[in-house]
Point group: C2
Chain length 199, copies 2
DNA sequence: CAATAACCGTACACCACGTTACGGATAATC
DNA sequence: GATTATCCGTAACGTGGTGTACGGTTATTG
């Protein structure tokens, strides 16, 4: 199969996998059911991805790339820090709380081996934090790591965890905007007070 | 079986369940394996708990009671808000990030039906927030809900989520202390600046 | 002490999944 | 066009889980 057509097939397979994860959870998403839903075969899935965890790991890697690309697209100097944080913050809220990220995180929580959790950490936080730190450093931060930590805490709060355990639906645009505005305002207040340089 | 001895048996069963959850995950914790580990029988487990999800729901309810009891024990007026937040914050960090809470949250994330997630939300946030709001109201807060939200966000950050996906071990006492001190200091800074009354 | 209730250890019926294998069909390469 | 590689749909295998049932044992109650 030509590379481009194979890539399209992969995207279709992974899209079907997200649907099944959302509907049945990690344990309930069988490779046979996925093959049927994607119009592929067992042999192809195992040939391309190795095993079930390998499929999820591939999805996690692709999702991490997409999240980083969206963050990078929103980090557009020169702009006021407030405007930049609003853009980046909205993108983070939308993607980290979205159905795909939640499905992947739930799969990681279901995986007793820890393999998926490590993959998520490697692709997510380990690469997202430096991107956010770079923005803050560009705006004069002497302790970008601490500032990034604080901003993310104020921005996300317990929403990711509540999404993960299925106790909360994706917040609507109004709730997102309210959360974003408050987080940015609170962060800037702490920053002006010199309260986020601690490590 | 006498009520007291039965209660001891339940505690032993649930302790064994926590061990198996930590080792094998929700899907891998079979009722048969649990019966063996606890020295009980399948029939007894199904008789007392109804089904597998019923067992977890019972564990979630008990854990929520224990968390609330610990929080209540730390809320001791009259004291300075800072000292009270330090006590309550340390208790929250210790219990919400502990092995048992994490095991229950992972089980909820693995449960496609959403039943366990709802149970966690009902016992955790739905009762823990009012307790924290009461403390803040007692210290003169005009918007205790917003203050409680902000304090929890600063206190916990993304630690619960990272614990949930298995990407992080339980933080040691030093890390907990550092996080706690920073969160209380930042929260009081925001409070003085009037930056946490927004809703 | 006898009768009753509850628990235990095991078996059972049913169901499902992860992964491999196979014959036939299709696509790609030479 | 022939050859080779890959994919598909299905079958098969090994393993294991959920929840119920049963005979024997133990605990509780009258």
């Amino acid at each position: 199969m030509l590379d481009e057509r194979k890539e399209q097939r992969r995207l279709a397979i992974e899209a079907a996998a997200y649907d099944l994860l959302a509907e049945r959870g990690y344990a309930g998403m069988s490779m046979l059911a996925l093959a049927k839903a994607a119009g592929a075969s067992n042999e192809t899935l195992y040939n391309w991805y190795g095993d079930k965890a390998g499929l999820l790991a591939a999805m996690i890697a692709r999702n991490a790339e997409e999240v980083l690309a969206v963050i990078a697209a929103q980090a557009q100097p020169p702009r006021m820090l407030e405007a930049e944080l609003e853009s980046v913050g909205r993108a983070l809220l939308t993607m980290l709380l979205g159905e795909r990220s939640v499905a992947l995180n739930r799969a990681a929580a279901s995986d007793a081996s820890g393999e998926l959790g490590r993959a998520l950490a490697a692709g997510g936080r380990a690469r997202g934090m430096p991107a956010l730190e770079a923005i803050l450093a560009r705006h004069g931060s002497a302790a970008p790591w601490g500032e990034a930590e604080t901003f993310l805490a104020l921005l996300l709060g317990d929403w990711p965890q509540r999404r993960l355990i299925g106790a909360m639906a994706m917040p609507d645009a109004g709730a997102v905007q309210a959360r974003l505005s408050r987080a940015v305002a609170q962060f800037l207040t702490l920053r002006r007070a010199g309260a986020v340089n601690k490590r």
